[in-house]
């Protein structure tokens, strides 16, 4: 019996010791960003950005550059990721990828087949931002230094998060959202875009962190609109916030004129309100064979700046401002929707999905050319704004000033 036990133990030891998948920590490097450009001879040109861990240790920081990049050309992204060690020393770990930059030329040609590889593979988590790069090569974007965030891709991700929370400018598109929208018949995908201002050559040098001004800076630049998997065009930054109104915009800051008088933008006087939360309901229905797209926006707001002399202690003033804000939101959101209808004719808002949920049978009839239905639809935006409070001062000094002038 004892011998048998021993035998079993030995056998178990044989089977269990083989840790095929063990990886030593100093044999790996963590990939933080990927950039995909069209290749010169081959289909893709992939740039991988991976961290240099020595630079992040507390005791001996500033050893060399915080990240390193590796550029290769090939016909499939997975292949390139697999043979990255043609130049890199360590095995790369992809589970912490933060940003995927796609050159707009790739998006225009619509060769997004590589997204399947990212979705299929287990290491890639569904939490990296997809960004379309508008100027320069996508390769340059993963190299731009920044003194606050050492890793370029982490900087971009944080920037996107803060932008979404502060102003509502980032649609928070991750891979699953993109693919969902791609295969959905009632929605087309959008992604955020970035543009590089400055000199990428200088911006990629460590010395650029020593100066207070930025040699090169990556900025968000509105939305990229996709017609199926082809890039159809862009929407401006303002339009992208209006787009977010129709989705789930959480917070933003809104500037709208408080009077009707004044013609040019410079002459007008403005009120600025902070929107701490907002809710949107989309409805799509048919009125006599005419599709109607309805967006209902319910919003709370508080005044943070006013340039007008209206008395902010009066209910009437609040009512008037609310009305102006509603009108402003309705106009600007409506403008963005009709612009999308006219210029691109693709439903990026998900009105089709709303119809799918609200009137399934009707949607089944029109699903194959929903985009045409979308383009000819009537747009109704109705906003309900409630201005609650006005910051730490009640009357503006401007009110006192104008009161004095009247006397």
């Amino acid at each position: 019996m004892k011998r048998k036990c021993l035998l079993i133990l030995v056998m178990v030891a044989f089977v269990l010791t083989g840790c095929w998948d063990s990886v030593e920590l100093n044999d790996i490097a963590i990939v933080t960003g990927m950039a995909i450009d069209p290749g010169e001879d081959k289909k893709y040109r992939l740039t991988l950005e991976y961290m240099n861990p020595a630079n992040f240790s507390k005791t001996s920081s500033q050893q060399g550059a915080p990240v390193s990049t590796m550029v290769q050309e090939g016909n499939s992204i997975a292949d390139l990721a697999g043979k990255v060690n043609v130049g890199a020393s360590r095995q790369l770990v992809f589970s912490h990828t933060r940003v995927l930059f796609i050159n707009e030329k790739i998006a225009e040609e619509g060769i997004l087949g590589f997204l399947d590889g990212l979705e299929r593979s287990a290491p890639f988590r569904n939490d990296f931002n997809i960004l379309i790069t508008k100027s320069h090569k996508a390769e340059d974007y993963v190299k731009i230094n920044n003194p606050l965030e050492k890793v370029p891709s982490l900087k971009l991700q944080k920037q996107a998060k803060s932008f979404a929370e502060g102003w509502g400018g980032d649609p928070k598109v991750v891979l699953s959202d993109f693919i969902d929208a791609l295969i959905s018949k009632g929605r087309n995908p959008v992604t955020n875009t970035v543009v590089l201002k400055g000199d990428p050559e200088k911006g990629s040098k460590q010395e650029s962190n020593m100066s207070n001004g930025r040699e090169a800076l990556i900025l968000f630049d509105g939305l990229a609109v996709f017609d199926n998997e082809k890039l159809a065009g862009y929407l401006s930054l303002d339009d992208s916030r209006n787009y977010m109104w129709t989705q789930d915009l959480k917070q933003t800051t809104l500037t709208f004129p408080c009077h009707d008088h004044g013609d040019s933008a410079k002459e007008k006087q403005y009120v600025n309100v902070r929107v701490p939360n907002s809710r949107t309901k989309m409805e799509t229905y048919y009125r006599n064979e005419q599709p109607v797209l309805k967006v209902n926006i319910y919003t709370e707001a508080q005044i943070i700046e006013t340039q007008c002399s209206d008395d902010l202690t009066k209910i009437d003033t609040f009512k008037k401002l609310e009305k102006n804000a509603e009108k402003y939101i309705e106009e600007s959101v409506g403008r963005t929707i009709s612009k999308t209808q006219k210029e691109y004719g693709v439903d990026i808002f998900g009105f089709g999905e709303a119809l799918y949920r609200q009137d399934y049978k009707k949607f089944k009839d029109v699903e194959d050319d929903w985009n045409k239905e979308f383009a000819r639809a009537e747009v109704v935006v109705s906003a309900k704004v409630q201005i609650r409070r006005a910051g730490t001062k009640s009357k503006s000094f401007l009110t006192e000033l104008s009161d004095g002038m009247e006397e």
Binding site: V15, G18, D21, R125, N126, S176, I179
Partner: protein, 374 residues
């Protein structure tokens, strides 16, 4: 010399075993895809039918207390026919055990151990199960008692986690009953009916060994009901978090859903707890089927099953690999062949066939004993 073979289960252990057996694998692989966003309705209905099924099995068992499925077969159909059908059942149980083991190995290979050969995982996993069954059924019951709080709370946690991460969109469940009742019926029959609920047939080998057999019926019905609720819960998590398309395309939807969890930028990447749930679920499932088969052999060859555990365990790990060369084949078999040609006959038709014989024979026997006593 050997530790004594204990084959007694308490009611609580039975309930736990049923729960893990039902939830462990089903919650993760995702069922009811034919019903689209109404999968939860389909599962709810299937749970109702599942309760009916277990009640039916309990009815069969209660006719001959203390006898398991094989002994009932022998009792009804005579020694030779009964043993032959019993042998078919043994094959069925072993085959399903291999399939279930393969499911798990695929998950592990895909998700964590990318370079480890699948064969190693099959063998090591099987060694654990062999050891458990070698020590007896009660070990399985007690181990489950230890693990149930984790399995249960982890599944609950996944739901709360996705909810508070803001990833759940309940509008994904709309429109309800868009295409009417048709897809739901298709999802229930035969898929949902046989997997997971019909597989309860394996418990006909375990329930007779309970300490309190009389209450087993109520307990197992309650356990099935609770596991049904849990499966509904899991599928609602999957559909709301992933959306319909993604859910249909995922091999392991709950795993994909768990990946979306990101609480306070701190509790992230919790998908490994899903692997834990599946792992324990699979251990229980394979053990129950394997045990069922072993018990069957015990009835057929009239020898204790203990010496057979190791060799037959190896056979199961062998077939878990040989069963199909590719994952696609595995899935296709699972959809086209298994429910129609294996599950339905063994889970429904044979039990249904022997029911009248059983009732008739039991009555006859009773009459005889009555006559004798008079």
């Amino acid at each position: 010399m050997n530790p004594k073979l204990v084959e007694k289960l308490s009611l609580w252990q039975l309930a736990i075993l049923i729960f893990i057996f039902e939830v462990g694998s089903v919650a993760v692989v995702g069922v009811g895809q034919e019903a689209k966003q109404d999968a939860w309705i389909a599962i709810a209905l299937a749970t109702g039918i599942g309760i009916g099924l277990i009640a039916f099995y309990m009815f069969l068992l209660s006719k001959l207390p203390g006898k398991n499925l094989f002994e009932i077969l022998v009792f009804c159909l005579g020694k030779w026919v009964g043993k032959f059908i019993g042998a078919l059942y043994v094959l069925y149980f072993f085959y399903i055990a291999s399939r279930v083991l393969r499911d798990f190995c695929e998950l592990i290979i895909t998700v964590i151990f990318k370079r480890t050969p699948i064969e190693t995982i099959a063998i090591t996993m099987m060694l654990v199960i062999v050891y458990m069954l070698y020590l007896g059924l009660e070990v399985l019951g007690r181990t489950s008692e230890v693990f149930i709080p984790y399995v249960f709370s982890f599944i609950i946690f996944i739901g709360l986690g996705t909810l508070f991460s803001g990833e759940m969109e309940f509008k994904n469940l709309q429109p309800i009953l868009a295409d009417g009742i048709g897809p739901i019926a298709k999802a229930i029959f035969p898929q949902l009916l046989t997997f997971p609920f019909g597989e309860m047939i394996a418990f006909m080998m375990i329930i007779p060994y309970l300490t309190k057999f009389k209450k087993a019926g109520k307990v197992s019905i309650a356990a099935v009901a609770i596991s049904g609720l849990m499966i509904i819960y899991a599928s609602v998590i999957q559909i709301t978090t992933l959306g319909l398309n993604m859910w249909e395309r995922s091999s392991f939807p709950l795993l994909s859903a768990a990946r979306e969890i990101s609480l306070l930028a701190f509790i992230e990447r919790v998908d490994l707890i899903i692997v834990f749930i599946v792992m324990y679920g699979i251990i229980v499932k394979v053990s129950v089927f394997f045990y069922g088969g072993l018990k069957g052999i015990e009835v057929i060859i009239n020898k204790p099953y203990r010496t057979l555990v190791f060799p037959l365990g190896m056979v199961i790990s062998y077939f878990s690999i040989q069963i199909s060369d590719t994952f696609a084949e595995h899935i296709e078999e699972g959809i086209m062949v298994i429910p129609m040609f294996l599950h339905l006959p063994f889970q429904l038709f044979i039990p249904a066939l022997i029911t009248p014989i059983l009732i008739w024979k039991v009555k006859k026997q009773q009459r005889r004993t009555d006559n004798e006593s008079v």
